[in-house]
């Protein structure tokens, strides 16, 4: 099956859901979500049989000019799977979150206004999947905008909630600004190289004595992408938007949107990193971004008292580690992973840990009516197993060994030491130490603080299954990371 069928199927699924949603009675809107999840699961299965033109060069479809815009390699397959898994989990989370969605949409008592919420992530997913295959800056830009515009709606979805609206406006304005940077940067790159196609750019012999205009374009694109991934100085929107947006949207933003930004960054920077003239300025810029992001994200996370806001800063912090891996600019070699693989592996573990935490957070938000760290007080007494799972997930985010999160950080450190980025390594260790503090702060609240009159949290069946699977996966992948690495080969 040609790979582009995957995107086509995803878009079709989204359209069908949107149409069907109009005819589903208000009390069964949750079934739209279930249908979306099932559809995404089917497409996820189909990624196994998707092939690119190299696998079947004789076929008619392999000759299409589409392949000038679209590629299908191991990385593309990996990020398509990533987008599908992430969207699937977010849709499932939304199903369990519908009570809050209903409260702040059309009628507070009915689920009338919640149906589209399950269909929209599917469109964003299609955008992310296309980004994974992008080979041409114009196509990449369109795909990225599909993702971003969907997010404008998702962030402001709870229209009777001031926080959600405020988040929506902030995201819209800053998102538009970053889009401006991105387009402007693409224009400069096009102006200096005469092409939008990334393979062509890497084939060009950049012999110009003055690479400044090209680097200016690259820097502008990186500013634009920095917004998506939450890199300093384009991180200012993150805490407020994450806090105000509906929790499943926040989860989607912090995992899906970030991964989309990173795959585009990997694809876009590749020709410039492996070119002698532009390599060192690009890597230096990445290192500076990384160090600033690590410092800001981790240090600003320390005093947070709201758990959702804490996760926002943590998402910035993780972007710092990912940027550090990119700043090493290393290709895969016989005895070590390359930067792109490390980033991908890190993102995969980040997906598992972060979404697991968001599942719990969403239910605590509903049942204890709050998102502060103190709302997790005494969870170890009221729900020991849930608290254990959340402890595992948070320990993984902090980078405790034998969890998936540690392996991700470990790869980054090994890569950075190998590349002799001593400043980056030093800052990253400080950042990891700070992370230890603020994640375990939540663990402390769960186990050592008395629950007071907070009720026990009862997880709905979907959330329960997802939390169980994700926390077990965190442990298993911490000891046996082969399943993810195999996908990257």
């Amino acid at each position: 099956m040609p790979a582009y069928y995957l995107e086509a199927l995803t878009i079709t699924l989204g359209l069908i859901l949107l149409l069907a949603e109009a005819f589903v009675p208000a009390k069964s809107k949750a079934w739209v979500g279930v249908a979306a999840a099932l559809g995404l699961a089917v497409i996820l299965g189909l990624t196994g049989i998707a092939i690119g033109p190299a696998a079947k060069p004789a076929a008619a479809w392999a000759q299409w000019p589409l392949w000038n815009f679209y590629q299908f390699d191991a990385l593309a397959r990996f990020y398509k799977i990533f987008a599908l898994v992430c969207t699937l989990l977010v849709v499932l989370m939304s199903v369990d979150y519908r009570k809050i969605l209903a409260r702040f949409t059309d009628h507070t008592e009915s689920e009338d206004g919640t149906g589209e919420y399950y269909a929209l992530p599917v469109f964003a997913c299609a955008g992310m999947m296309f980004l994974a295959s992008a080979k041409d800056l114009a196509g990449a830009f369109v795909a990225l905008e599909l993702v971003t515009i969907t997010f404008y709606i998702l962030v402001a979805y709870m229209r009777r909630n001031v926080g959600s609206l405020e988040a929506g406006v902030k995201y819209l304005i800053l998102g538009a600004l970053s889009t401006g940077f991105l387009v402007y940067g693409i224009a400069w790159v096009y102006g200096t190289t005469g092409t939008m196609s990334l393979p062509e750019i890497s084939n060009l012999k950049l012999q110009t004595t003055n690479p400044t205009p090209l680097l200016f374009g690259v820097a502008l694109v990186m500013v634009g992408l920095g917004f998506k991934i939450g890199a300093v100085p384009m991180q200012i929107w993150i805490p407020d938007v994450y806090q105000g947006a509906p929790t499943p949207t926040t989860a989607f933003l912090s995992v899906g949107s970030k991964a989309a930004g990173f795959i585009l960054m990997i694809r876009f920077l590749e020709p410039f990193i492996f070119n002698e003239i532009t390599r060192s300025p690009v890597l230096n810029l990445l290192l500076i971004l990384s160090v600033a992001t690590l410092l800001f994200g981790n240090l600003a996370a320390i005093p947070q008292t709201n758990f959702k806001r804490l996760l926002a800063y943590s998402s910035i912090a993780h972007a710092g580690f990912l940027l550090l891996a990119l700043a090493c600019g290393k290709n895969e070699s016989a005895d070590s992973l390359g930067s792109a693989q490390v980033v991908s592996f890190y993102l995969a573990t980040y997906l598992i840990m972060t979404l697991g935490v968001f599942f719990v957070l969403a239910q605590v938000r509903i049942q204890r009516d709050g998102e502060a760290i103190t709302d997790f007080n005494g969870l170890g007494k009221t729900n020991p197993l849930l608290a254990l799972a959340l402890t595992v997930l948070l320990a993984a985010l902090a980078g405790v060994p034998l969890t998936a999160g540690f392996l991700g950080k470990f790869f980054v450190f090994a890569l950075a030491v190998d590349a002799h980025l001593w400043m980056g390594v030093g800052i990253a260790f400080i950042a990891a130490a700070a992370g230890f503090y603020y994640y375990l702060n939540v663990v402390r609240a769960m186990w050592w603080a008395a629950p007071g009159d907070l009720p026990p949290v009862t997880l709905p069946i979907i959330s329960k299954a997802c939390v169980a699977v994700l926390s077990v996966a965190t442990l298993v992948l911490g000891i046996w990371p082969q399943p993810i690495l195999a996908l990257l080969k």
């Binding site: 895969e332 016989a334 005895d335 070590s336 992973l337 170890g380 254990l388 402890t391 320990a395 405790v400 060994p401 034998l402 540690f406 470990f410 450190f413 090994a414 030491v417 190998d418 390594v425 260790f429 990891a432 130490a433 230890f436 503090y437 375990l440 663990v443 402390r444 186990w447 050592w448 000891i479 046996w480 990371p481 082969q482 690495l485």
Partner: protein
């Protein structure tokens, strides 16, 4: 087979979570592990103990266990002995048995994994695995100001581990492998001196924090004072030795020149452990605080042995000295913490000034505590003496009268005063608790007959049978005493393993 030793406690932890009777499982698994550990000590040369499972290709990581030398064997032996004593001597608060025994097994499994691992990655990872339940147990089931103590140990050891990780990653990068056996084969002069110095500093601070090297020690005393008995026994007795083990296993063979550059600062810091913390220990008013500080203090001697090894790399005494003392201290401090817990349960207090005359009502307890105290002071015939005398001999190895005293010898002479300091606080504690008048039960001589009949509070035990050790309580203590006496009378038991 070693994999069984490591994974059995972890599997038992899961089983306990799922509802298997907690105490029974914990005791059974620990007893089985003791048998396995002792038989490993007899046959450790056999390759049947090693285990290796490839986990990652790039970089090559293996979940591998094995006995590269006798040092690992002794540490595993120490772990299995203390684990059995810890699960036998603790009494779980009602309703928290799962947590209590499960965490103890998790700590034990982590420690075993760290000591048996031959892959750098898992060497580090298993130690961290053991730390998490330590933090949680202190925070949840501890005494006194438990949350502050638990948070402090979490932060300190978390930071220490990260510094350590930096050093280990650097080391692995320079040697190009994560296999600790292959790593040591790398010729040390191929690591350039500046890098050696940097790695040595990271490892000294990282491992040092984990071993409570002065001035990174202030987490230890409050944590041990508030920890539940098995956690204090396992952490002070076993897990803390991980840092020393790591220095001996990695830092000494791989970055000898780097360590030499830090010899003088290390000597000053270890004197801080022996003398500064020693005086702090003397001033303690409570038994738990005193034991916690004394455990920090005794780390100074082991660092002295390591310093002797750094200064004279050919020194044949220093490594055995460090290891025998690690074993001896591990067993004796575990015994002391176990008995202190027992004293608190029978008297309701650990305040030294509130106790007295316990030897009358609890002679067995007094006898066993006396042995443990004598061991801690370094009385000949008990294991600690063998260790300490070796340390002092190692420090004076190759001493040449004409050249005068070297820095290690000077540090050793100062450290000798530590023996006096230990004698002061241990004997004073013993006198306060076990001898003199029964303070708790009597305010004055006139009240004596009255108060013997009417207990003054729920915590005061006046009947002898309730206060003294029952047979079941004697078993763990006797196990540890047996280890102390056996090694004390015949240190070759351990030294032969190191040949």
């Amino acid at each position: 087979m070693l994999a069984l030793l490591v994974f059995l406690p972890l599997a038992a932890f899961l089983a306990i979570l799922l509802g298997v009777p907690a105490r029974l499982t914990a005791v059974g698994v620990s007893a089985f592990n003791l048998v396995l550990g002792v038989s490993a000590a007899g046959t450790w040369h056999c390759s049947c103990w090693s285990f290796s499972l490839p986990v990652l290709e790039k970089p090559a990581l293996h979940l591998a266990f094995g006995f590269p030398d006798g040092m690992s064997v002794i540490m595993v032996l120490l772990t299995v002995i203390v684990t059995l004593a810890a699960v036998l001597s603790g009494t779980a608060p009602a309703g928290r048995e799962k947590l209590y025994f499960g965490s103890s097994l998790l700590i034990s499994g982590g420690a075993l994994g760290a000591f048996a691992a031959t892959d750098l990655f898992f060497f580090y990872a298993f130690h961290e695995l053991a730390l998490i339940p330590t933090f949680l147990m202190i925070g949840m089931l501890g005494r006194g100001d438990r949350r502050a103590a638990a948070w402090k140990i979490t932060i300190y050891l978390g930071l220490g581990s990260i510094v350590l990780l930096a050093g280990l990653v650097w080391l692995a990068n320079l040697t190009g492998t994560y296999d600790m056996g292959k790593m040591v084969l790398v010729r040390t002069h191929t690591i350039d001196p500046a890098a050696q110095k940097g790695i040595a500093a990271l490892l000294l601070v990282g491992f040092g924090t984990l071993v409570s090297l002065f001035p990174f020690h202030s987490w230890a005393a409050p944590a041990y004072a508030s920890a539940p008995a098995p956690v204090a026994m396992l952490h002070a007795g076993v897990l803390k030795k991980f840092g020393l083990y790591g220095l001996l296993r990695l830092a000494i063979p791989l970055v000898p020149h780097g360590l030499q550059a830090w010899l003088t600062p290390l000597l000053i810091l270890l004197l801080g452990n022996v003398l500064w913390v020693g005086f702090v220990t003397i001033s303690q008013k409570r038994l738990d605080g005193m034991l916690g500080n004394s455990s920090v203090m005794h780390m100074g001697y082991i660092f002295l042995a390591i310093a002797a090894l750094i200064a004279f790399p050919a020194n044949p005494l220093a490594q055995p000295a460090a290891i025998v003392l690690m074993f001896a201290h591990g067993v004796s401090i575990a015994l002391l913490f176990g008995l202190a817990d027992r004293i608190e349960r029978s008297t309701g207090t650990l305040d030294l000034s509130d106790m007295g005359g316990l030897a009358k009502s609890a002679p067995k307890l007094a006898f066993l505590f006396g042995i443990a105290a004598m061991a801690a002071i370094g009385l000949p015939g008990l294991a600690n003496f063998a260790g300490e005398i070796l340390v002092f001999l190692a420090a004076f190895w190759s001493y040449n009268g004409q050249a005068g005293l070297g820095p290690v010898q000077i540090a050793c002479i100062f450290s000798l005063w530590g023996v006096v300091i230990s004698a002061v606080y241990m004997l004073r504690a013993y006198r306060n608790i076990f001898q003199g008048r029964s303070v708790k039960t009597t305010e004055s001589a006139a009240d004596l007959t009255l108060s013997e009949q009417i207990p003054q509070g729920p915590s005061v035990k006046t009947t002898e049978s309730a206060a003294d050790l029952t047979l079941a309580e004697q078993i763990p203590a006797l196990l540890l005493v047996l280890a102390l006496v056996a090694v004390g009378l015949y240190p070759n038991l351990l030294l032969n393993l190191l040949k």
